[in-house]
Symmetry: C2
């Protein structure tokens, strides 16, 4: 299997690229091709919008790749998401796309365009503690659809989606919003204050489109900065409260988050 | 004129209440009645949702008040906004409502419900440097509709709205979203990173409802934390860029922001 790595948001650290390429070579079941765009830098981004868009579009149109793996999150894929799915070549439809965090903007746009996407580890996750396990989990799923890579609560035949909560909030109402009807929605977040989690849950659960989900499950909310004053409610209570107000079924916890244990959530999960 | 002060978000500092009451007494043209709810504290909020809702609803239903002035921003008015406008008593329709920042959730909901609202200084703004000027500006407008209090770019007969950008982003698609058609939209923000301003502008200008505004003007974006790495674009360039992409007319700058120079923006401005 041949996997292209592009960076639609922030640039990839060279040592991460080397480490993941080495893991794939050691496994022998996948060839990782790191697009040079991953190392561009233009302010916050891995190169200007045009360079990120061109690299992604070129990889999507290239028949030799079976999958496209997003290098890293951060911020910026929303700036090119709508343009990326315009006039898709046939080769783009024969691939799998994997990533999470800021890449959620692309997961949404691509899923809406009929492409096969999954929430799961990014290449730069290799730098996390126990990061190699995340890389193997991603490759096990990309190469042979290993079910052990999947978020354990997924049910075959039940459509699911997973998003960073803040990213989800920012794509609602835009041209890349997908159809949430009947979908089990998994959310996670990182480094957001409790008052921000509360405000974002107000926004997300206030959307009539989101209220069409079959259930909502909560992944990890990590690195929450101190609230001043103490907020008075923890992240799970906040999520439960807004689900209750919006009459959305709270389905419990989910094994996703900004960490090495982050599991794979294919947006159209079918049994093998 | 009799003005009730309530705190639908965070609690008011007693010294701010004293200072503003003293200013009004010295002027002799307004009596400020600080509701005791303003000093409640429940975690992040000025009392539990029920206490904030009850105080606000009671003041709205009370014939003796000509205006309701929001004490302070922070976070939390969204949690009671929808309930506040249910089954409005007639007395609520004979009042003016003034505030900004987090109170924007109420400005949106109240304006949608047909009430007379204005973006402008909060009571606790008296604590800012030159804060007394903000208080006089607010009272000059509340008491005698002094046009010198108004944002100088407003045009009589041209409907305008003003919002904190982040608050605006979080009310889009919810039950309290007002109708933006033909409205001149003024935005401001505080303490948001440039990448967050960019992401929020993506979200806001990606809304088909927002694309119905007649123009967008940008107030101050203050206390912007350092972006790591340097973002590569400043706040005005970001706002201009997203307006251009969304084919929204950028109408220049606006005299609003989280500071003592923050001007009044009545949502239905008519010439005196």
């Amino acid at each position: 299997m041949k996997i292209a790595v592009v960076a639609p948001s922030c640039s990839l650290r060279p040592e991460a690229a080397e480490a993941v390429t080495a893991i794939a070579a050691m496994r022998g079941d996948a060839e990782i091709v790191i697009h040079p765009q991953c190392f561009l830098s233009d302010g916050h981004f891995a190169g200007p919008d045009a360079a990120r868009l061109d690299a992604l579009r070129a990889a999507m149109a290239d028949d030799q790749y079976d999958a496209i793996w997003f290098a890293r999150g951060g911020y910026g894929s929303n700036r090119i998401a709508e343009a990326t799915v315009a006039n898709l070549p046939a080769a783009a439809r024969a691939k799998t796309y994997l990533g999470y965090s800021d890449a959620g903007f692309l997961l949404a746009a691509f899923h809406k365009a009929g492409l096969e996407v999954a929430h799961g580890p990014l290449v730069q996750d290799v730098m996390r503690r126990d990061g190699e396990t995340a890389i193997h989990r991603a490759l096990d799923w990309l190469v042979r659809r290993d079910e052990r890579s999947l978020e354990p609560g997924l049910k075959p035949g039940q459509p699911a989606m997973a998003f960073n909560l803040t990213v989800l909030s920012h794509l609602l109402g835009t041209a890349i919003e997908p159809d949430f009807s009947g979908v089990e929605l998994l959310i996670e977040d990182v480094a957001e204050h409790e008052y921000r989690i509360d405000r974002t849950m107000f926004h997300v659960t206030g959307s009539p489109a989101i209220r069409q989900v079959s259930a909502l499950r909560m992944g990890r909310m990590s690195e929450i900065p101190d609230n001043d004053p103490v907020f008075g409610s923890d992240a799970e209570s906040i999520v439960r409260d807004w689900c209750k107000r919006a009459k959305i079924v709270f389905g419990g916890r989910a094994e996703i988050g900004h960490d090495a244990a982050n599991c794979v959530v294919p947006f159209n999960y079918r049994a093998n």
